[in-house]
C-alpha cells in the first residue's frame, strides 16, 4: 500500500545499497526535507544543491562522466526549461563521441497538474522531452511501476528522464512492492519522517525490499476490451481506467494501455491492441499543439489508415499559456474525469466506416469542451 513517493524512495534506497547509486541531489532533496514530495527522505546519498537547475544537470552529467551513477532532481519540471541545451548534450553525448562516452544518469522531475499548482507548478514536459533524442523517458502511474521503473532507470547505461505525475505521488497502490510491509501504518512508521516533534537524528528503518525491475519500453494493459484502444499515462491514466469500468455498464469495453515508457515506445503492444479494436484515443494533459500524443497517432495512422473504423483522436490539454490558479480554470485546461469518460464513449460508439459505408463525421460532443 505504498504511495508513489514511497515507491520511488524505496527504489532509491535499494539502488544506493545494491545498484551503485552514488548521488541523489537537487533542491531540498536532502535532509531535512527529503524532497518537496518526500520521495528522497532518509537516503544516505541524498544532498541539497544550490537552487540552480543548470548546475544540477551539468553536475549530474559530470558525475556520470567520472563513473558515478546520479539521480538528479529538478523540483518541478516547470523549472527544467533553462536546462534544455544541457539535456540535449546529455542525449547526444554517446552519439557525438561515436559511442565512447555514455552517460548513466537519471533526471527525475514532477510533472503535470492536479495539486493546484497554478502557472509554474503544473507544466507537462513529455512533448518537449520527446524532442530530445538520446533520452529514454518513463512515466509511472502507480507505486509498483514507480519502484520498478526507477530501478531500471538507475541500472540503465543511458540517460533516463523519470517523469513523476505529481497528482499521483501521494496515491496509494493496493499491490505491495516485494519486501514491503503489508501493514500500511508499519511502512509509514518505518520510512516516513515524523512531521511533528524533534526529528534530529531521525533515520528510516528500511524494509528489506527486493528488486522488481519494470523493463523500460514495456507498456501495461490496465483493462482489456474490444470497443476502442485508449492510450494514456500519468494523471489521466487512472481516469481512463475508471471510465472504462464505468462504461462497462453501457456495454462498452476498452483496451486501456498504460504506456509507462514514452520512449522507446512499445509499438508491438499498441499494434496488437489496434488490430483488435480499430479505434484509437490518446489521452494526456500536455498542451495539444505538437503534443506527444500526436506522434503516437501519426505513427499508428500511417500503419492502420485503412483499418481504422473512425478517425483517431487526441484528448489533451488546451493550448493556453498556463494553468490558472482558480479550480475552474485548471478544470477547463486539462482533461477531467468527465472529459475522459465522454471521449471514450464517443470513440467507442461513433458509427464506423463499415457501418456507415463512408468516412464518418466526428461527433459534435468531441468538440464540446475544447
Amino acid at each position: 500500500m505504498a504511495t508513489m513517493a514511497q515507491g520511488i524512495r524505496l527504489a532509491l534506497h535499494y539502488a544506493e545499497e545494491n545498484l551503485g547509486l552514488t548521488d541523489v541531489f537537487g533542491e531540498d532533496v536532502g535532509p531535512p526535507l527529503g524532497g518537496v514530495f518526500t520521495a528522497t527522505q532518509g537516503l544516505k546519498c541524498a544532498w541539497n544543491s544550490p537552487l540552480d537547475e543548470r548546475g544540477i544537470i551539468g553536475t549530474a552529467i559530470g558525475i556520470a562522466m567520472a563513473g558515478g551513477r546520479p539521480v538528479a532532481e529538478i523540483q518541478f519540471c516547470d523549472y527544467i526549461f533553462n536546462t534544455i541545451d544541457l539535456l540535449k548534450l546529455a542525449g547526444n553525448m554517446r552519439w557525438s563521441s561515436y559511442g565512447s562516452w555514455g552517460l548513466p544518469l537519471v533526471v527525475k522531475t514532477p510533472v503535470g497538474s492536479g495539486i493546484h499548482g497554478s502557472i509554474y507548478h503544473s507544466h507537462s514536459f513529455e512533448s518537449v522531452a520527446s524532442h530530445i533524442p538520446g533520452w529514454k523517458i518513463v512515466c509511472p502511474s502507480n507505486a509498483i511501476d514507480a519502484y520498478g521503473l526507477m530501478l531500471s532507470a538507475i541500472a540503465d547505461p543511458d540517460p533516463v528522464l523519470f517523469l513523476e505525475p505529481k497528482a499521483l505521488l501521494r496515491a496509494k497502490t493496493p499491490d505491495l512492492i516485494p519486501g514491503e510491509p503489508a501493514d500500511e501504518k508499519e511502512l509509514n512508521r518505518r520510512i516516513n519522517k515524523p512531521v511533528i516533534g524533534d526529528t534530529t537524528g531521525w533515520q528510516p528503518d528500511w524494509p528489506d525490499v527486493q528488486p522488481a525491475f519494470v523493463p523500460i519500453g514495456q507498456a501495461a494493459i490496465r483493462r482489456a476490451g474490444t470497443n476502442a484502444t485508449v492510450v494514456s499515462y500519468a494523471r489521466t491514466l487512472p481516469l481512463a481506467v475508471k471510465a472504462a469500468d464505468q462504461l462497462a455498464s453501457e456495454g462498452l469495453s476498452f483496451d486501456v494501455i498504460d504506456l509507462r515508457t514514452l520512449y522507446p515506445i512499445d509499438m508491438p503492444t499498441l499494434r496488437k491492441s489496434l488490430h483488435k479494436t480499430r479505434r484509437l484515443l490518446v489521452i494526456n494533459e500536455d498542451t495539444e499543439v505538437t503534443n506527444y500524443g500526436e506522434h503516437l497517432i501519426r505513427r499508428l495512422t500511417e500503419e492502420f489508415f485503412y483499418d481504422l473504423e473512425v478517425p483517431p483522436r487526441l484528448l489533451a490539454g488546451k493550448d493556453v499559456p498556463g494553468i490558472g490558479m482558480a479550480w475552474p480554470l485548471e478544470a477547463a485546461s486539462v482533461p477531467q474525469a468527465q472529459d475522459v469518460t465522454e471521449a471514450m464513449r464517443d470513440i467507442a460508439t461513433q458509427p464506423g466506416r463499415a457501418a456507415a459505408g463512408e468516412w464518418p463525421l466526428i461527433p459534435e460532443t468531441f468538440f464540446r469542451n475544447r
Partner: protein
Amino acid sequence: MATLDAARKRRIHDLMVKTRLTEETAISMNKKGEGHFWIGGAGEEAFGTCLGLQVNKGQGPDHDFLHLHYRGGPTAIAMGVEPIDHLRQMRATASDPFSGGRQFVEHYAIPEWNIVPVSPTIETQYTMAPGTALVQKRHGGHGITIVTGGDAGAAEGDFHVCLTWASRPGNELPLLIIVTHNRWGISTASSSQWSTTSLNDLATPFGIKNSRVNGNDVEASWDAIAQAMDYVRTERRPYCLQADVSRLYGHSSASGANRIEGEPDCIALFEDQLTAEGIVSRADCDAVWDRWRAQIRSAYDQIHREPYPDGTDIWKHIFAEPVRT
C-alpha cells in the same frame, strides 16, 4: 621561477610548431573545400602546450579530467593527439576517432585520457566540470578537473554556475577553472562587454584563489599552470586562472580564418627567446617547421584516401544497445 630546462623548451617549441601547422592545414582544407568548418586554437599554443604537458594523463578519477572548449588543440596535441586524427575530424571521415565524422574539428572525445566530449556550445563545459571534480574530491588522491573556456564563454551564466558549485563551503572542489582571454567573442569586442580585463577577479567573491598570466609567454604560462595545479592537487580546492592569449586566425572559418595582423605570435616570440638564450638556432627552428610540415603533409595525403561515413551510420551509438521504437 624559471622551471624549464633547455630540453623541455625544445620539446615545447616542437609541440607548438606541430600544433600550429596542424591548425593551418585544417584552415587550408576549409578554404579548399575539403572540410566544412574550421575552428581552433591557433595562437594559443604557448599556454595550451604548457597545460597539456602538465596534465596527469589517464583514465578515471586518479587522473585529470579535461573539459576543453573548441580551442583546446594545443593542449590535446601536447597530450598526444596526432595531427592525422585532428585532420580526419576536419575532413569528417569515418576514421575520425573522436566522433566518426559527426563533429566539428577540434571536438575531441578521448575516454582513455579523461578528455570529455567537446561541445560547440561555448560555456556548457563549465556546468559539467564540477561533477567530475566532485567525484575526484570524494575519491581522494591527486586527480583534478580542468575546465577551459574563453572570455566570451565566461559571459554566460554557466561560468557563474561553475564558480558557485566549485566553492560551496565544506564542499570545495579540486577544479582548475581556466579562461583563455583573446579579447573577442566572435566579432564582439570583450572591451565592449566587460568592465574588467581580469575575469579571474570574478572568482574572488567566491573565495576562489585566482591569478592572471600572459598566455603568450611560455615560461610564465608554465609556472602559472604549475602553481595553480599544485594548489588544486594538494589543497583540493578550486583555482581560477586567466591566460591572455592571441586569436591569430579570427573566430573560425565563419569569420574568414585569415591571419589577423597585430596579434602577437607566441611561437615567434618563443623562437626569439630560444635563439637569444642560445638553446636553438634559426636553422634549428626551420628544421622543426620543415619536419612537421612534411609529416602533416603526409597525414593530409593519407586522409584523402579514407572514406566518409555511410549514411546508415547515423543509427549507431544513440544508446548503448539499439532500442526498438
